[in-house]
Symmetry: C2
Subunit: 95 residues, 2 copies
């Protein structure tokens, strides 16, 4: 399975707003058969920083999710409060 | 809950040996009530690179696990084949 780790840094004070948006997205993603796990975290070391850990049936399944209307809606909600986004790693889950 | 993302780079050609050691550790960790998740991945972008995603009941629960004999045994197995280890993030799981 295909896993992704992403780091999202928000504008000052917007971290929990982003957590709320991504947590809603998480529930919806995990309801689909293609998404095995979508977990949202806050960093204990860096301010205004959220980490997402996602596991998908395949890389293609993840790519397909990005074209879903509801996913685009979440991205549009998040964009205005984001400072920057960084992909930490693209991974293959082994166990 | 307390989550950790770690990056382990092995000596050339030793990645799958490390995956085997960590996968065995994963089974044992997840069998304890303190460890909610212990996932082992290989990087799709970097050679000889393994990522571990762990979720523990608390930071203390994770710290306590490091003093268990079986965990020390896994660490001793892994050390000779490791080039370096890096903590990517210490996190609080939100959803």
């Amino acid at each position: 399975m295909y896993a992704l780790i992403g780091k999202l840094v928000t504008k000052a004070g917007q971290r929990d707003r982003l957590v709320a948006i991504l947590s809603e997205a998480a529930r919806e993603m995990e309801a689909t058969s293609d998404c095995e796990s979508y977990r949202v975290h806050v960093s204990l070391d860096e301010a205004d920083t959220v980490f997402v850990y996602e596991v998908w049936r395949s890389e293609d399944a993840h790519a397909a999710s990005l074209s879903l209307a509801e996913v685009k809606a979440y991205i549009d909600q998040a964009k205005p409060i984001l400072e920057r986004m960084e992909r930490i790693a693209a991974l293959e889950l082994r166990s």
